[in-house]
C-alpha cells in the first residue's frame, strides 16, 4: 500500500519496521527456535555456589538466578510484551476513540460528562492507579492488559475529542449539515476517515507506552505472574544482582528499549505521512 511504500522511504522508520519484524518473529517462532525451555531450571545453569552463569558457551546470553537460559526467556518474553502491547493498546485506543468521538461530536451534556471524566482520569498518577488496580484483581496476563488499557485510554480520548471538534467545525461538515444529511452519515462517511489516521498513529505510538508500562509494572512485581517471562519481570527478579550479574538487567533492558523505539519510529513516521499539517518539518 501507499503508506508502506512511504514508510519504506524513510530510513529510520524502516529500521523500526525491521526491529518489529525481528522481535515479532522470535516471539512467534519461539517454540521452535528457542535453544531451551524457558521454564527449565537447569542444574548446570548455576555455578556450584548457586550463582548465575555469564553469557557465552552453552548459554548465549547467560542464565538467570534459577538457572534458566536468558535467551530463551527473552524470546518468550517477546510474546508477553507484544500481546499486551497490542491487546492493551488496542483496547485503550478503542475506548479512547469511542469516548472522544462521542464527546466531540454529540456535545451537549454527554460530551461534558465524558470530558470531565477524562479530566478526572488524567489527574490520577497513572502508575499508582495501575498498581492499586493490579492489587485488587489477582494479576494475570489479561488483567494486566486490562489495567494498562484503563490507564492509557485517556490520552487518546483527549486527542480524538479535540480533533472531532475541530473537524466538525470545518466547512464541509457544516455544508453537509446544511443540506440535511443525517448525523450518523456525517460521522461515518466524512469524519471517521480523518480520525482513523489519528487513531492509527496513536495505536502505534501507544504500543511503546504500553510496553514500557507493562515492563514497569512487572519490575515492581505486580505484572504477569511467574514463571511466565516478561522482560520487565526478568529485570525485577534479577535486579538485586545487577552488580554481579549485569547481563540479567542489560539484555532485557535493551530489548525493551528496542521494541519501544521501533514502535516510536514507525509511529512518528506514520504521523508525518498521514497528517498533512505536519509536512515540511524536515
Amino acid at each position: 500500500m501507499l503508506v508502506l511504500a512511504e514508510l519504506a522511504k524513510r530510513k529510520l522508520a524502516l529500521l523500526g519496521l525491521i526491529i518489529i519484524v525481528v522481535i515479532a518473529g522470535s516471539a512467534l517462532l519461539a517454540p521452535w527456535i528457542a535453544p531451551y525451555d524457558p521454564q527449565n531450571q537447569m542444574f548446570d545453569g548455576l555455578t556450584i555456589e548457586g550463582a548465575p552463569m555469564p553469557p557465552g558457551g552453552q548459554f548465549l546470553l547467560g542464565t538467570d538466578l534459577l538457572g534458566r537460559d536468558l535467551l530463551s526467556r527473552l524470546m518468550y518474553g517477546a510474546q508477553t510484551s507484544l500481546i499486551i502491547g497490542i491487546v492493551a493498546n488496542g483496547a485503550a485506543v478503542l475506548i479512547g476513540a469511542l469516548v472522544g468521538v462521542t464527546a466531540g461530536f454529540f456535545r451537549g451534556w454527554i460530551g461534558t460528562i465524558l470530558m470531565r471524566a477524562t479530566d478526572l482520569m488524567m489527574a490520577f498518577p497513572a502508575l499508582l492507579l495501575a498498581i492499586v488496580l493490579a492489587a485488587i484483581f489477582k494479576p494475570s496476563l489479561w488483567i494486566v492488559a486490562m489495567v494498562i488499557a484503563m490507564v492509557n485510554w485517556v490520552q487518546v480520548a483527549r486527542v480524538i475529542y479535540t480533533e472531532t471538534r475541530s473537524l466538525s467545525e470545518r466547512e464541509f461538515i457544516e455544508a453537509e449539515w446544511g443540506i440535511g444529511a443525517s448525523r450518523f452519515r456525517i460521522l461515518f462517511k466524512h469524519m471517521l476517515p480523518h480520525l482513523l489516521s489519528t487513531m492509527v498513529v496513536w495505536a502505534t505510538l501507544g504500543i511503546a507506552t504500553t510496553v514500557l508500562l507493562e515492563a514497569t509494572l512487572s519490575y515492581l512485581g505486580v505484572g504477569v505472574q511467574p514463571p511466565t517471562p516478561s522482560w520487565g519481570n526478568i529485570i525485577f527478579e534479577n535486579q538485586t544482582y545487577f552488580t554481579s550479574a549485569p547481563w540479567l538487567v542489560f539484555f532485557p533492558g535493551i530489548a525493551i528499549i528496542l521494541l519501544a523505539l521501533a514502535f516510536n519510529l514507525v509511529g512518528d513516521a506514520l504521523r508525518d505521512i498521514l497528517d498533512p499539517t505536519q509536512k515540511g518539518r524536515h
Binding site: A123, I136, A215, L220, G253, I257, H282
Partner: protein, 306 residues
C-alpha cells in the same frame, strides 16, 4: 482572565474530589484487611475486631468516605495504620526530596532537550542532527527504571563517579535527575527542533536577518523565546508523568521521597498513606495542567480560553 482562573480552580477542586472518591473506593475494594495487618499475627480475634471498630472499618463505604473527607477539610490526612504517625507529617518530611528530584529532572530535560533540539534545528539535516534525533527517540523509548539501573551501574558502581543511590549531597542528585529527565529530554528535543524550525522560517526572523542582525542575536532574542512557549506548556503536562515516574526512580536510587513512601504503603495496605500521596500527586498534576492551559493562548492565538 481572572474569571477563567477562578473557574479552572473550581474545576480543579471538583476533580480532586472525584479523585479522592475513586481512590477511596478502589482501596475499599482491596481484599486485604488493614485491621489484621495492624493486629499482627499473635492477636486474638477480639483484638482484630476491636481495631476494625476503632478504624471505623465496619461502617458503610459512604460513611467512611465522608469521615475521611471531613478530616481532610480540616487538614487532617489521618494516621498511618502501621506507623501511627500522621500522614501529613510523613508526606511533609518526604515531599522536599521529591520536589528536589523533580526540579533536577526538569533542569536536566530542559538542558539536554533544548540544547539538542536547538542544535538540531540550526544544523538541520546534517549527521549531527540525525544523530541527535535518534538519541531523542531512544530517550522516549527507554523505561525510566532501565535507564536508572543502567546509569547506576555504569557511573556509580563501575566508574565510581557518583554515590550509589541515597540522598544528601548534590552528587546524589545527579544520576536520579538524569534518569528521570532522559525521557522528557527526548520529547523536548524534538519539540524544540520543530518549533525552532517553524520560528526560523517566520517572516520577522527573515526580516531581522535581512536587516543584518547577527545570527546569535536573532537566535537568542527572537527565535528562542518564541520556540519556548510550547515547551512551557509541556512542562505542565510533564509534572503528571513525573508523579508516576517517581515511584520507580525513587525505588531504584533509594531516594527518600513520596514515591518510595507510596510504594511501601501499597505493599502494606496502609490506606491513609496511599490516599495522601495520591491526592498530593493529583494536586500537582492538576496544577501542572492548569499551567499548561494558561500558556496555550500565547502559543496559538486561535485558542481562546474558554
Amino acid at each position: 482572565m481572572i474569571a477563567y482562573i477562578l473557574r479552572r480552580l473550581v474545576q480543579a477542586i471538583l476533580i480532586l474530589l472525584g479523585v479522592s472518591i475513586v481512590t477511596y473506593a478502589l482501596l475499599y475494594m482491596l481484599p486485604a484487611d488493614p485491621a489484621r495487618q495492624i493486629a499482627g499475627r499473635s492477636a486474638t480475634a477480639e483484638t482484630v475486631a476491636n481495631i476494625r471498630e476503632q478504624l471505623g472499618l465496619n461502617l458503610p463505604f459512604y460513611e467512611q468516605y465522608l469521615r475521611y473527607l471531613g478530616n481532610l477539610l480540616t487538614g487532617d490526612f489521618g494516621r498511618s495504620y502501621l506507623q501511627k504517625t500522621e500522614v501529613g507529617e510523613l508526606i511533609a518530611a518526604r515531599l522536599p526530596a521529591t520536589l528536589l528530584l523533580m526540579a533536577g529532572a526538569i533542569f536536566c530535560e530542559l538542558l539536554f532537550g533544548l540544547t539538542a533540539g536547538a542544535i538540531g534545528a540550526i544544523k538541520r539535516n546534517t549527521p549531527l542532527d540525525r544523530g541527535l534525533m535518534v538519541a531523542s527517540f531512544v530517550g522516549v523509548s527507554a523505561p525510566q527504571f532501565v535507564v536508572g539501573i543502567l546509569m547506576l551501574y555504569l557511573f556509580a558502581v563501575v566508574l565510581g563517579w557518583f554515590p550509589i543511590g541515597g540522598y544528601g549531597t548534590f552528587a546524589h542528585l545527579v544520576l536520579p535527575s538524569v534518569s528521570m529527565g532522559f525521557l522528557g529530554a527526548g520529547w523536548y528535543s524534538r519539540m524544540m527542533r520543530s518549533s525552532m524550525l517553524d520560528v526560523l522560517r517566520q517572516d520577522y526572523v527573515r526580516t531581522a536577518r535581512a536587516k543584518g542582525l547577527g545570527r546569535a542575536r536573532v537566535f537568542f532574542v527572537h527565535a528562542f523565546p518564541n520556540a519556548l512557549l510550547p515547551i512551557i506548556a509541556m512542562i505542565g503536562i510533564d509534572i503528571g508523568m513525573f508523579m508516576s515516574g517517581i515511584v520507580v526512580v525513587e525505588s531504584v536510587f533509594g531516594w527518600p521521597g513520596i514515591g518510595q513512601l507510596a510504594w511501601q504503603a501499597i505493599q502494606r495496605v496502609d490506606i491513609p498513606i496511599i490516599m495522601g500521596v495520591t491526592l498530593v500527586s493529583a494536586c500537582a498534576i492538576v496544577l501542572g495542567n492548569l499551567l499548561a492551559d494558561l500558556v496555550a493562548p500565547f502559543i496559538d492565538p486561535r485558542i481562546k480560553l474558554r
